[in-house]
Symmetry: C2
Subunit: 332 residues, 2 copies
DNA sequence: CTGAAAGCGCTTACAG
DNA sequence: CTGAAAGCGCTTACAG
């Protein structure tokens, strides 16, 4: 209400609107005095250009949409932070939305930002059957997927993490410490390509090292009880070194174990994906396979900016996972 | 690029642009056939109205700015989530920005969203000497502060938490368990009104219960080492029940103590502000004074929406803190 | 019930 | 170097 407009500035500076526009955007030549007058008027009036009006003529709104499943999850909070920060430093405002792992909410958010005429979007995709996502992709606006890809949407560049290096390092560490069998807890979310890839990469590497008969894989549902029974079954199979593909499961396991007689790092060895703060605060600290989420966020945002700038045909990137051994892995 | 416009819809439906606009906004009367034709055209063309163009005529852009210090902090992530969610359900898109506790970044973000012609903003304020904040307030747009107030900016409604009930309950619990002296670790951020209030409320209540001579207060700097020396000094003063006003300090303390011989809940009793997930996962679990951040977020957003709707002169609200006793508080 | 016209705050050819 | 005019995609009186 009562925003000051370019017309007010023009009036104050005693010149035309078009000249003010040119002075502000430093397009074309303007005399020093004019420029000075404009600057003074802008200063005095606290003029802030209306970027929406600007956008109507000149395309770019300098806004981008960012969709993550849930910022309350520390991993996505870190990711969102890195992206938002990179974008802001490049002069873009970011609309944030959360999908709560639901395609419906994803669609609602995408439709909203489309109506805001975003310059593009960075998305952690939810499933493949999303109308709005299709629509977004149809606009030819720059879009990049981060953290995971969406099946069937192959044309979109994605920045995600490569589970292989971290998993290999963890498994070799486990072997070196004398363990003969190894288990993998794969988490509940079965339609996440990233989670699926982790599991299959685990199977391949682990079988190579320990032999197929010494490799155990179990999945959990969302309840804590299911995590408990998985732990019990693993133990029953004589597995005392476990890798968690889905960090919330590891969190549950750590808290379950804290109340039991089983001591982590002695009776059972544990490695989890995701370098959560929490894993550095427990006693013993939990070994992790870090996805380097900040790196993923920055690279994703940078890739997006490159696409915006029209540079090259953007290519997907993978960030190597890194294994950080800590006291939660003991000796067999 | 190549967005479909209302003109395309009009052409397709074989009617005028103004009629399409009316049909879409359900303003004025339109014949059923016309309406049907419009709907069909919208469907076929995948028309999404340009809310910026819309905003140029009708004021509201249906966007709001949200500024928090850092979403990587679990507390602010929860807060941002609650706000974003409430706003989205009311049909608003939210621009998110992080200030990293810096007034400069706060100003940059506010200027950006102002240029996006937001309908208003919800802010966790940083200090009082912010030009852009002044400017924002000067526009008369609805603004609400959440989590804390800003000194000198009294006119803005704020939704924050009331430390009193939680602190009182915690202190009574500590007394009931036989402790004779109590300590308070106040955190490093001295210009946060909320933190200051916590400390002073603590002093008053604690002095009332234990007597002034049995009440100890220390502050920390950001380093871990400072937390360690505070713990040592407290111990030296014979204090074995501690309340942390700033949860990151409590996190440091928990991890420091995990590596020492001092056992939480036996040798030392601990209560921390903020109901972080982490505090439920340690062993023993840490007693907390919860700020009910989700409630703060929802109420803040609701208050904002009320202001937007022009209802009444909005009044500040306080959400009571709640004490959750857990095993980290033992017996004297 | 519907259409033509003006205007929101800008930018950008087009003249001068 | 500067100004008048058109137009970006909408909405909203104003006529009919």
């Amino acid at each position: 209400m009562a925003y000051v407009t370019i017309r007010d500035v023009a009036r104050r500076a005693g010149i035309s609107v078009s000249t003010v526009s040119r002075a502000l955007n430093e397009t074309g030549r303007i005399s020093p005095q004019t420029k000075a007058a404009v600057e003074r008027a802008v200063e005095e009036l606290h003029y802030i250009p209306d970027s929406r009006a600007k956008a109507m003529r000149s395309l770019s709104t300098r806004t981008v949409g960012l969709l993550v499943p849930d910022i309350r999850n520390g991993y996505f909070a870190d990711l969102a932070y890195a992206i938002q920060d990179t974008l802001f430093n490049a002069g873009y405002c970011t609309f944030i939305g959360t999908s709560s792992e639901s395609a419906t909410r994803q669609d609602a958010f995408i439709t909203s930002i489309l109506s805001q005429r975003i310059d593009g979007a960075i998305i952690v995709p939810q499933g493949e059957q999303s109308d709005a996502l299709r629509l977004l992709l149809g606009t030819k606006l720059p879009v990049v997927f981060v953290d995971r890809q969406a099946k069937g949407l192959g044309g979109v560049p994605v920045v995600d993490s490569n589970p292989e290096p971290g998993l290999a390092a963890a498994l070799h560490d486990i072997q070196r410490r004398g363990f003969a069998r190894v288990g993998y807890v794969s988490g509940p979310v079965l339609d996440s390509p990233s989670l699926q890839e982790r599991e299959s990469v685990f199977r391949v590497i682990a079988a190579g090292i320990f032999g197929e008969e010494n490799v155990f894989v179990e999945s959990t549902s969302f309840e804590r009880a299911s995590c408990e029974s998985v732990l019990r079954r693993m133990h029953g199979s004589g597995v005392d070194a476990l890798i968690f593909g889905y960090s919330p499961d590891a969190v549950s396991a750590v808290s379950l174990l804290a109340d039991s007689a089983v001591r982590i790092g002695r009776d059972i060895s544990i490695v989890s994906f995701d370098d959560l703060e929490l894993f550095r605060l427990t006693s013993p600290q939990i070994s992790v396979i870090s996805q380097q989420v900040q790196e993923i966020g920055q690279r994703g945002a940078q890739l997006f900016l490159d696409m915006l700038a029209g540079e090259t045909q953007a290519a997907s990137q993978r960030v190597d996972t890194v294994y950080a051994p800590r006291a939660s892995v003991g000796k067999a």
